[in-house]
């Protein structure tokens, strides 16, 4: 892919670190390592997709088109437990809303226009944001975004295909405990966000509220009530509290 240098970027600053620069190799190494790790997540996503009743094509389409791990696990989990289209896609969107804020942080660094922006947008995820925003220089940050985004994209999709094809060979997923896979995946996705008192308070309140609502409301609504808990908590919080907006290397 090729890009314009962009009108607003300083003339003396290259788009990416020059060939042979040590920071270039360091960024590419990090990008590949993160890609390999998410490839392993992709394996489990592929298997969970099939175990949730999606076809191989549907599972792979999610990794290609949605490309946001938390949203994908949520969507297949809700469909697998009998939730409707609105609940499944709505929850996926709720979980994907953080990517909009990552994009906001990245916009000034990347300065994408036209086709590059349309393509780059798909790569705005936890991992690419974390690498891009923690580099010492802007060229290294831009390289970090593209290298990490592309490496995760390729390996996540590869992992999904392999995991889904493998799971397709198994006749009864429940016997193997696959119905416990999605909650376990959510615990793993949740863990890096549980720093400080407020995430714990929000998580426990949201769990209690949603569980209490399950017998009385349509499927999918309990998750929306959980989202309401987050909205109320975020609304009330004093602005001088510690910031909670750092993408810090959580899985996609």
């Amino acid at each position: 892919m090729t890009y314009d240098a962009g009108d607003r970027s300083p003339a003396d600053q290259p788009r990416f670190p020059p060939r042979g620069a040590p920071e270039r190799r360091a960024v590419l190494r990090v990008a590949l390592a993160i890609g390999a790790t998410t490839g392993a997540y992709g394996l489990s996503f592929g298997a969970i997709g099939i175990a949730s009743g999606l076809s191989l094509l549907q599972t792979c389409a999610l990794s290609l088109l949605m490309f946001s791990g938390g949203s994908q696990f949520a969507l297949v989990g809700i469909l697998g437990s009998g939730g409707g289209v609105v609940a499944a896609s709505g929850t996926a969107a709720l979980l994907g809303s953080r990517n909009a804020f990552y994009g906001l942080r990245l916009a000034e660094l990347l300065r994408l226009r036209g086709v590059a922006r349309v393509a780059g947008a798909q790569l705005v995820i936890d991992e690419s944001t974390a690498v891009a925003t923690t580099q010492p220089t802007e060229p290294a940050g831009r390289l970090g975004f593209w290298a990490t985004g592309l490496s995760v994209f390729v390996l996540w999709n590869l992992g999904t295909v392999i995991g889904a094809a493998g799971a397709g060979l198994i006749s009864d997923p429940a016997v193997l405990g696959f119905d416990a896979a999605a909650p376990a995946a959510f615990v793993a996705l949740l863990a890096p966000r549980m720093r400080g008192r407020q995430p714990w308070a929000v998580a426990l309140t949201a769990s209690a509220v949603s569980l209490a609502a399950v017998p009385y409301v349509p499927a999918g609504v309990p998750v929306l009530l959980a989202a309401l808990v987050a909205i109320l908590a975020g609304w009330r919080r004093r602005p001088d509290d510690a910031s909670a907006d750092d993408p810090d290397g959580q899985p996609a």
Binding site: L54, L95, A180
Partner: protein
């Protein structure tokens, strides 16, 4: 219907990414909006954990999946890799199911 959910969810997720790269800083820069956006995944993921572990349809249940969840939490506390966390939860659930 599954395809509708797959495509609608994917479209929504993509548009959210594109919006972030495209809108002026001040629209989403509000600290209150940012805080809410960062707490949303915590609340939604926590709700999904308990709903998919402790319910069947509209009933609250305690079954083998709870053992799987405990295994997953222990694995996460021990900083096990993602795949190990998921695999341990599955194996634990399957074993408990065999014994129950």
């Amino acid at each position: 219907m599954t395809w509708v959910a797959v495509l609608a969810g994917s479209a929504a997720c993509y548009l959210l990414k594109l919006v972030g790269l495209s809108v002026p800083q001040r629209v989403l820069g509000n600290p209150r909006v940012r805080r809410i956006a960062m707490l949303l995944p915590v609340a939604v993921l926590a709700a999904l954990v308990v709903i998919q572990t402790f319910t069947i349809g509209h009933r609250l249940v305690l079954d083998a999946r709870a053992a799987g969840l405990v295994a997953a939490v222990i694995a996460v506390l021990l900083r096990a890799p993602f795949l190990v966390v998921v695999a341990l939860a599955c194996v634990t659930t399957a074993l408990v199911r065999l014994w129950l």
